[in-house]
């Protein structure tokens, strides 16, 4: 046994050395990995708003698709306007209403806005009303720029989180709800629609009693 002691001591020292080397190696690799992940893990989702999160109050479906309000009463609201008095949606009962959610940074929105403005003038005798709800809190100057570019001379309203929530979260833009004279949503579009589709939906709400 006595003769084995030096051998055992050498063996233990060897094991300790290997353990120390292993630990050192592990720590170094963890540091390298952390640096690598910091460098490589830097992609970000392009569509942060598409998936609803509890803190943004989104009522959209889990897939990020807008809620389907077709044949449901349009949720009522009162919103202040950039270019006139506040508007209460239910006060427009009896009129067909186009409710369009937009933002100054949304290029497709600005494609649709002139169509809505033209339709409002074309069907004013039938009472067609258009409401534009801004989702990005633009300054009055920015709104004026958009109006000048698109001819959107209809009420442009300050959007709120509650109203967006009531209409399914409005996770992307544009989104438009076509509301009949009875206050029910007859059609809705998410994303840029064609002018033909817009006109077809307008005809639907003009035909309501």
């Amino acid at each position: 046994m006595k003769r084995a002691l030096p051998t055992l001591a050498i063996l233990l020292a060897f094991c300790a050395l290997i353990l120390w080397a292993g630990w050192h190696n592990f720590q170094r690799r963890m540091r390298e990995h952390a640096a690598q992940m910091q460098c490589l893990g830097t992609h970000v989702d392009l569509i942060p708003g598409a998936a609803p999160t509890p803190d943004n109050g989104s009522a959209a479906s889990d897939s990020g698709a807008p809620a389907d309000l077709t044949n449901h009463p349009a949720p009522d609201f009162t919103l202040t306007a950039y270019n006139g008095p506040a508007v209460k949606l239910s006060s427009l009962r009896g009129k067909p209403v186009i409710l369009n959610f937009w933002a100054t940074w949304c290029a497709p929105c600005k494609v649709e806005m002139p169509w809505f403005a033209r339709a409002r003038h074309a069907y004013s005798a039938q009472g067609l009303e258009v409401l534009g709800v801004a989702e990005d809190a633009p300054s009055p100057d920015e709104v004026q720029q958009v109006v000048a570019r698109t001819g959107a001379d209809y009420p442009l309203l300050h959007g709120t989180r509650d109203v967006a929530h009531a209409y399914g979260g409005i996770d992307y833009l544009p989104q438009t709800f076509y509301i009949g004279r009875d206050g029910k949503v007859l059609a809705q579009t998410a994303g840029l629609a064609s002018e033909n589709e817009v006109n077809a939906n307008i005809q639907k709400i003009l035909a309501t009693q």
Binding site: F26, R29, T42, V44, V111, A190
Partner: protein, 159 residues
């Protein structure tokens, strides 16, 4: 005795082996903008330019740095240099012209890969870690998504 020594050696060898790090599969539910990091090396004391590469997922675009419309959100890179590092004016890639269906007004956008060049001068050797943010606003052909600001880190080796 021999058995104990063998066990000790096996245990030590196992601990000394390179750490195996498993990367959990990251499934991206939604399209994104990606920073494409590549090794960047510069020489200390010299004015140089580093190039950062980004990629926008297929079917999407983001506004370029000069989107042709004052109300659109330009893509903007912000870098925070540590002490001893000077950055010059950032040079953004030119975007491509893009016109939405139903519109006659062209936009200027980035799609696919695009590059941003940053003039840099570092006083000392070592590894630089530059905190960065990319602010952008993304759309596809029919819809637009909220403005996003993404944070990441640019690593630069200064020789």
């Amino acid at each position: 005795m021999t058995r104990i020594a063998a066990i000790a050696l096996l245990l030590s060898a196992a601990l000394a082996a390179p750490a195996q790090i498993t990367h959990a599969a990251h499934e991206k539910a939604l399209p994104g903008v990606h920073y494409l990091p590549e090794p960047i090396a510069i020489t200390h004391g010299a004015a140089q330019s580093i190039t950062l590469a980004f990629r926008v997922d297929d079917g999407f675009h983001i506004n370029s740095h000069k989107p042709l419309d004052d109300t659109l959100i330009p893509t903007t890179l912000t870098l925070t240099p540590p002490a001893g590092v000077k950055l010059g004016d950032i040079h953004y890639a030119s975007g491509a012209s893009f016109t939405l269906e139903g519109s006659t007004t062209p936009l200027n956008v980035y799609s696919g890969e695009f590059l941003i060049h940053v003039p840099i001068r570092a006083a000392r050797q070592g590894t630089l870690s530059l905190p960065a943010t990319l602010r952008y606003q993304a759309c596809d052909r029919r819809q637009c998504f909220p403005i996003s600001t993404a944070s990441f880190t640019v690593l630069v080796t200064v020789k």
